[in-house]
């Protein structure tokens, strides 16, 4: 059991070295991205639209390959099951039950329904969806669908969980709840999370490190440590620390977007 009080990480897991991506239509999505992701990090990629944060995530996932530069994975070789991916939309198969949706990554590896049963039930319990195994997606609320999606991302017990603005489409109450639940899960399991978001508040609440990106071309603009202890609960949201860190992240983001002036007074960027 690792200590969760301080966001201690165990050395680099992935190092991006001057990674670039140019699309076929000559759009430079990423230029010279250098980034280090540590084992057990909860790292947020924060930036405006078009800064290439989703592209970076796809590169890390191996869904597309970089035009230049290298992704240097450290530690044991990464297999298919070592990366979980959670999309912006729940992206569930509408014809399949919750169980079958979560089972999918294991099923594709040849794990039978019976063999997968405990694993699927465990991970559904972790996202508080026990008892919903037989429901189909359209019988669930938006928040529950997202939980299923997270469960599917975690069912293979990946070492890295990639999340592409997973809560952007949810209402605020649901989003806060899922933020807390995700944090609790992460503190317990300590997988690495790379979390793409355009919400300053969300990134500060969740992560131990924030990488701020700038657009045109997509690049890393700056980085900040979120120096606040875990576990973080709802009281953290209203704390002085949180306000201070949010101001800091916000002004960094404003500079990244080329907006002049103090970033702390109004958080127009949600």
């Amino acid at each position: 059991m690792q200590t969760a009080d301080k966001a201690k990480t165990d050395g680099p897991q992935l190092i991006l070295r001057s990674v670039g991506k140019v699309f076929g239509n000559d759009v430079v999505a990423l230029r010279d991205v250098d980034m280090t992701i540590n084992q057990g990090d909860f790292l947020s990629l924060l930036g405006p639209s078009g800064c290439g944060k989703s592209t970076a995530l796809r590169l890390i996932a191996g869904l597309s390959s970089p035009t230049s530069g290298v992704l240097d994975w450290r530690g044991p070789a990464m297999g298919k099951a070592d990366i979980g991916f959670v999309f912006q939309e729940p992206t569930l198969m509408p014809w399949a039950s919750v169980f079958d949706n979560v089972w999918l990554p294991l099923r594709l590896q040849g794990v039978s329904r019976a063999e997968a049963k405990t694993q699927v039930e465990d991970v559904l319990a972790q996202v508080n969806l026990s008892g919903f195994e037989n429901a189909v997606p359209r019988e669930l609320s938006g928040g529950m669908k997202m939980r299923v999606s997270i469960a599917r991302g975690l069912v293979t017990r990946p070492r890295v969980l990639l999340m592409d603005e997973p809560f952007a489409a949810l209402d605020e109450i649901t989003r806060f709840q899922l933020n807390s639940d995700l944090l609790a899960l992460w503190e317990r399991e300590r997988f690495t999370v790379i979390f793409v978001t355009h919400s300053v508040f969300e990134s500060v609440f969740l992560s131990n490190r924030i990488v701020v990106m700038a657009a045109h071309p997509g690049r890393v603009f700056g980085e900040m440590e979120v120096d606040a202890p875990y576990p973080r609960d709802e009281t953290f949201r209203t704390s002085e620390d949180y306000a201070h860190l949010t101001r800091k992240a916000s002004s960094l983001l404003r500079s990244a977007m080329g907006i002049e002036g103090e970033g702390g007074d109004d958080h127009v960027l949600h």
Binding site: L63, A81, F87, T91, W95, R107, P137
Partner: protein
């Protein structure tokens, strides 16, 4: 009487507008069944009256009662013909499903195959079957094969084009998810593309069911079949030559009845399969 007064009364109190709406829904539900039946009865009654009033001879327009009597009297002949027509219809529908789905799967496996062969399918579809038939007549000897081939050509295209569309209408993110998990081509087809194309396929199947029947009947018309394997179309031609209008009507009614049943059965199957997840099969309460 003010509206606030009504709201304050009871929690379950429904206002006048909602009550009117509920009444309307109820009426529509009954009307959906009752009205067509009612109109049908009126039409049959008028048909009968017109025959009587105008003293129309039975070889031109028989009265409904006579048609019904013929249907019962000639049931042996008519039903064996119906069975033959049904055989052709369902066999060709089965072949259309196999061919349509098979080809569309092939198309989605390779863009090149689709680009190369889809135009042929279109050509086959847009050329009227009646115009192709003389050729089939020359090349194919076996009567059943002739009819099957015709009905198949008519029926397979909606399945092919719909299923191809369905197989390609897969959520991009789900495709990424499969790729991420190292899914094979076969796994992606079986677990993702085929289920995702189900609503499209079933839509095509509904059209193809009707077309298979039309194909079977039209083919028999052009083939001019007779004897053992003759279907309802032959009965109609025969009855036409003999001015046996009651039998002609009886055969006609059997054909359209068959078409209705095929449509209803396919609609039922489609709803059973899709009811839990697809918008098209949702009941009103949701």
């Amino acid at each position: 009487m003010s509206s606030t007064e009504m709201q304050g009364d009871a929690a379950v109190m429904v206002d006048a507008e909602e009550m009117r709406r509920a009444r309307q829904r109820k009426m529509e539900k009954t009307g959906k069944w009752l009205l067509p039946i009612l109109i049908m009865c009126v039409a049959i009654f008028m048909w009968d009256r017109i025959c009587v009033w105008n003293e129309i001879p039975r070889y031109i327009l028989p009265r409904p009662g006579e048609v019904l009597a013929t249907l019962i009297e000639d049931r042996g002949l008519l039903f064996s013909s119906l069975v033959n027509t049904l055989k052709i219809t369902f066999l060709s529908l089965a072949l259309a499903v196999a061919g349509g789905v098979g080809l569309s799967v092939l198309f989605t496996q390779s863009k090149w195959v689709e680009m190369s062969f889809f135009p042929f399918a279109v050509v086959l579809q847009v050329t009227p079957i009646v115009a192709i038939f003389p050729l089939i007549n020359i090349y194919v000897d076996n009567q059943t094969t002739k009819l099957l081939l015709c009905a198949w050509i008519v029926a397979f295209f909606p399945i092919l084009s719909n299923t191809t569309l369905g197989l390609n209408s897969v959520d991009r993110n789900l495709l990424d998810l499969f790729k991420l998990n190292g899914a094979t081509r076969w796994q992606t087809l079986w677990h993702l593309r085929l289920p995702a194309s189900m609503p499209y396929f079933l839509g095509g199947l509904k059209i193809a069911g009707g077309l298979a029947l039309i194909g079977a009947v039209v083919a028999e018309f052009v083939a001019g079949a007779s004897g053992q394997s003759s279907g309802l179309a032959s009965r109609i031609i025969e009855a036409g030559y003999r001015l046996n209008a009651p039998r002609l009507f009886a055969a006609l009614i059997l054909i359209s009845f068959t078409g209705i049943v095929i449509f209803l059965v396919l609609t039922f199957i489609s709803n059973r399969i899709l009811r839990r997840w697809h918008e098209s099969a949702l009941t009103q309460e949701h």
